[in-house]
Amino acid sequence: NAGVTQTPKFRVLKTGQSMTLLCAQDMNHEYMYWYRQDPGMGLRLIHYSVGEGTTAKGEVPDGYNVSRLKKQNFLLGLESAAPSQTSVYFCASSYPPGLAGVGEQFFGPGTRLTVL
């Protein structure tokens, strides 16, 4: 049982390049999330999904797109990377509240992205 995994762990991009971060979970969770973590700001929600085929915007969605084609995977895309997107990106997943516990989120190990 791997929990939540993220690929890649590190990446360096040049301004204007594109890339996709992959998140996978094997806990059969309905909900999945993408966060970014910047120094002094905690984690901020980028996009989330409450089920296969659905996505929604979070607190800081600009410059990112997501897709949830399969229940176990949640992809985060950067179409044209900017230096302001240099950050550590975390994926998380959870059950809906009430199904098992209060819906606490389980996190992946993070991806450190640097945009030059």
């Binding site: 002094g40 905690g42 984690l43 989330y48 516990g101 989120q105 190990p109």
Partner: protein
């Protein structure tokens, strides 16, 4: 919008002593959920403790306990018998009630805790 404030950017404690981390939040909701997450140098986010707002009893998990003051919108974390392995960033988080059906969670900026030998 919900906001979460952690007013202590950094704290330190001697091994075996007790330390309390502060967290306040702002919301107009009545039923919600609060969490403390730990992030050690490995960067992995680890759930420490959770509290449901409709429960008056403070949550406890081994050496970790909370002081939940709903009227004051305060949710502090107490770590007893501090251990070197407790050295980490600690994040307080607020999650919206079930009826929103999205588990939208907002985090504070974090408190960096160092346990000294």
């Amino acid at each position: 919008a919900q906001t979460v404030t952690q007013s202590q950017p950094e704290m330190s404690v001697q091994e075996a002593e007790t330390v309390t981390l502060s967290c306040t939040y702002d919301t107009s909701e009545n039923n919600y959920y609060l969490f403390w997450y730990k992030q050690p140098p490995s960067r992995q986010m680890i759930l420490v403790i959770r509290q449901e707002a409709y429960k008056q009893q403070n949550a406890t998990e081994n050496r970790f306990s909370v002081n939940f003051q709903k009227a004051a919108k305060s949710f502090s974390l107490k770590i007893s018998d501090s251990q070197l392995g407790d050295t980490a960033m600690y994040f307080c988080a607020f999650m919206k009630p079930r009826r929103y059906n999205n588990n939208d969670m907002r985090f504070g900026a974090g408190t960096r805790l160092t346990v000294k030998p």
